[in-house]
């Protein structure tokens, strides 16, 4: 079977990517349910439908490569290797969470995995990524840093300034615009005065690429190219992933701004997971049964994560005051 694998990744790697994408999907769909039940506090922004971008890109990265994420960060975390159990505890506000319950959904980070944090402030990751890339440049080991930004947040000054800074310093920094067509309820086309992010990148001297963000292989290939270039000192680029969001902006969003049938169409025809599964099975790289097996394992993993999260201890009064400073 491996001999006939037409893809640029080994069967194991492919199944690993499928598993990660499925893990994100399952994680998010479960949060959707648990939030609806009132189990989960705060603002929760789900990444379901966008998995191919996170996993397609992150499949090229190691722990020494850094990423800065957005408010919609779960997918980036999982794709970058953050522990799913710790994430679930975090979202439930428990001890043992990625941030010991102090951060919540919008602030999950794991610096040991190169994950510099989800971020509640739009565009804020871009300067941080310039810094991570600058540090990588000083270290000189070919590490890179990637900033994820939504189509809406791509209009923040912090993001725009960073494009210029990365370009003039020739930083190993990449900017991924996750274009899911909406910022909250506002359409991308209303808010952004240019059709192609490649044109916006050009205005800052950066090469840009657009891909179908629901196609894992398209993302994988485009990202591979610009990541390789960045590692070799070729400087920053921008990658636009055109993608779809399966849930509301945040949980609780009635999504009346969508067209009739829009969501159904997205789920039926633009589901990156379904696409990857079809590609893998039709190429004979994996059977439907094998994928279903992975699905079951992932389901069990998420179920266990929820059980563990609910059983985990709550933070205590003493925790309130720690971790503000290293020393004060």
């Amino acid at each position: 079977m491996a001999a006939n694998n037409p893809f640029p990744l080994s069967r194991d790697a492919l199944l690993g990517c499928y598993r990660r994408m499925r893990t994100i999907r399952e994680f998010e769909d479960r949060l959707h349910i648990d939030f609806g039940r009132g189990d989960i506090p705060g603002f929760v922004h789900l990444y379901a439908g966008e998995e191919a971008a996170a996993v397609g890109i992150m499949s090229h990265l190691g722990d020494g490569d850094r990423i800065a994420s957005t408010h919609r960060g779960h997918g980036h975390c999982i794709a970058k290797g953050v522990d799913v159990g710790a994430m679930m505890k975090e979202i439930y506000g428990r001890k043992g969470g990625s941030c010991e319950g102090k951060g919540g959904s919008m602030h999950i980070a794991d610096l040991s995995k190169g994950m510099m944090g989800a971020n509640g402030i739009l565009g804020a990751g871009a300067p941080l990524v310039c810094g991570a890339a600058l540090a990588a440049k000083f270290r000189g080991k070919g590490e890179i840093a990637i900033c994820f930004v939504g189509d809406g947040a791509s209009n923040q000054g912090t993001f725009l300034e960073s494009l210029n800074l990365a370009a003039i310093w020739n930083l190993p920094a990449l900017f991924v615009v996750e274009n899911n067509g909406y910022a909250e309820s506002t359409s991308r086309d209303y808010a952004t005065a240019v059709n192609s992010y490649v044109d916006r990148a050009s205005g800052f001297g950066l090469p840009g690429v657009v891909v179908d963000g629901t196609d894992f292989f398209a993302v994988h290939e485009a990202a591979g190219e610009i990541i390789r270039r960045a590692r070799e000192g070729g400087g920053p680029s921008l990658l636009e992933c055109k993608m779809v969001r399966f849930h509301g902006h945040f949980e609780g969003d009635a999504q009346t701004y969508r067209a009739n049938g829009e969501l159904e169409d997205l789920r039926a025809n633009h589901d990156c997971l379904k696409k990857l599964a079809a590609q893998l099975t039709s190429a004979g790289v994996a059977s439907a049964a094998e994928l279903a097996d992975i699905d079951r394992q992932v389901l069990a993993l998420i179920e266990q994560a929820v059980v563990d999260a609910k059983a985990a201890p709550l933070p205590s009064a003493a925790d309130l005051l720690t971790d503000v400073y290293v020393k004060y």
Binding site: P41, R94, T186, D319
Partner: protein, 336 residues
Amino acid sequence: MARRISLKTAVNEAIDQAMQLDPTVIMLGEDIVGGAGAPGEMDAWGGVLGVTKGLYAKHGDRLLDTPLSESAYVGAAIGAACCGMRPIAELMFIDFMGVCFDQIFNQAAKFRYMFGGKAETPVVIRCMVGAGFRAAAQHSQMLTPLFTHIPGLKVVCPSTPYDTKGLLMQSIRDNDPVIFCEHKNLYALEGDVPEAPYAIPFGEANVVREGRDVTIVTYGLMVHRSLEAAATLAKEGIDVEIVDLRTLSPLDIDTVLESVTRTGRLVCVDEASPRCNIATDIAAQVAMHAFKALKAQIEQVAPPHTPVPFSPTLEDLYIPSAAQIAQAVRRTTGGK
């Protein structure tokens, strides 16, 4: 005719009536209408918590959805204010001030002085403040002290639907830049509000509870926590007076001084971080101007010097509670 409406509805009504009364009132913000350019419902959101829902139907393109560019659109509101409009900009969460603060504190706040009195900048910047929403460190701050510190700004933070409508209408008709702080945990609070437009003047604190033994000075959500504390303390024979500042700048220090002169005791309660906050500001002014009247130390109640934690367990410990306020009162009254 007063009816019971929520604080959220009071905000909506104030904007609606201001727009009816004055054609130069416009409003700018992210998703304040909602659905711009989208295929579905227009007016889909009315802001992230639906506060401005329905205004688009009434006032159309005088409400403009903006890109996610706070500097540009808050600055645009300020620029338009210098050119004859009375814009309201919605900053959504006050926590986002860090991406647009320059336009607020170096531009709007300083034009009049820098230009020798020849500018007027009648802009209102509305934003949500406060913790309790399990929204963590970047969506839960109070930050009122940062704006109160800046000469040229006015800062408002109402505690009731009645004050909200009246103070917001005053903010919109006021000729100086106003930061209007809405506590997200008070949106659901209901109260009597007259239907007709009215304005509450700035710089007039409200004595929400009269008492003999000790003065609590506070604002926003903490007014309610203080009232709770006062009810408990009443049973212990401690009679608490509560001053709701309503506007932090200008500040009605006279009402505070007058109250402390009567009671001789002061507890300042603030939901903002403890250093250089409103509580320390009031305490310091009283320690300077009414020292002789003081019978005991001035207590301050504020959250700890930490960011706002996410976990509900921790966040509940973070926000000053009625019990903590009562305890502070007991400390300064010596049990009585």
